[in-house]
């Protein structure tokens, strides 16, 4: 979950691993403050989301990561189109940091907008609006990319 959020958000395996390790080390230090399994899960999602967004903002300033050059990990395609998947991931990567994280949490972690709002510390209306706008944007881009209407 932790590595996957960072990786899907940053699309950089090495950085995602580094951030995930940092988060687990921080968890080890703060474990006594966390009250339950659900609290740990919420805390992990929150910390990795913020760390990833902070890193992306820094990397954006430094221009260190060229997203299109990053290799995708070898994952089983389960019969779906790998080209389409890769294109969708690239489209998600082109979204602004906050909107991208909202999409990752919504579709990877299957979190509800309310949970996303709590995790990212954003108003619920903002999360819903980011989600709606991002979907419209992604649908439009996907249509142009695939040359066929996406429902």
């Amino acid at each position: 979950m932790v590595f996957s959020i960072a990786f899907r958000f940053l699309r950089d395996r090495a950085v995602a691993e580094e951030l995930a390790q940092d988060v687990f080390l921080k968890l080890y230090r703060e474990l006594s403050r966390l009250e339950s399994r659900e609290h740990v899960k919420f805390w992990l999602r929150k910390v990795i989301s913020h760390r990833s967004m902070d890193y992306a903002r820094g990397a954006h300033r430094r221009r260190e990561v060229a997203l299109d050059d990053v290799l995708e990990p070898a994952v089983q395609s389960n019969g779906s189109d790998p080209l389409l998947e890769n294109s969708l991931r690239k489209l998600v990567a082109s979204l602004p940091e906050e909107a991208r994280m909202v999409i990752v949490l919504r579709y990877q972690e299957e979190m509800e907008p309310q949970e996303i709002a709590e995790t990212l510390g954003l108003p619920l209306a903002t999360v819903k609006s980011r989600l709606r706008r991002s979907l419209v944007l992604l649908r439009g881009k996907a249509q142009r990319l695939m040359g066929e209407p996406a429902r």
Partner: protein, 120 residues
């Protein structure tokens, strides 16, 4: 959920961390635990070290400023004393010159009186 959302869900599905990820995290945790514990007092000293350096720098700056001001003050006093001495010397010279003139005049008057007394 429409097609795009379904495709997104599939494209963004969870992926596994690299091999040995857990071992590397555990190694970092172990490394952190193995760091030598600080003796009591050391922590406080280490924390206050930057403050201490600033305090020393501030004291040195203060001493240099005070000494500089004292030297400047002494030079001003010396310059004022020298100027006063020069003024006194000039005043004495003027006074001496005036006294000489007065003395010459008195002598001239006395000589004139003596000559008049002899002729009478």
């Amino acid at each position: 959920m429409n097609d795009v959302e379904r495709q997104l869900k599939h494209a963004l599905r969870r992926c596994d961390p690299p091999a040995n990820f857990a071992n590397r995290v555990l190694a970092r945790v172990a490394a952190e635990n193995e760091e030598p514990a600080l003796r009591p007092g050391t922590h406080r000293f280490r924390l206050s070290w930057p403050s201490l350096r600033w305090a020393v720098a501030a004291i040195v700056l203060l001493i240099v400023t005070v000494m500089g001001y004292r030297i400047h003050e002494r030079r001003v006093e010396e310059a004022q004393a020298l100027a006063a001495k020069r003024q006194v010397m000039i005043a004495l010279r003027i006074t001496g010159a005036k006294l000489r003139i007065a003395k010459q005049r008195v002598r001239a008057v006395e000589e004139g009186q003596e000559k008049t007394g002899k002729t009478l």
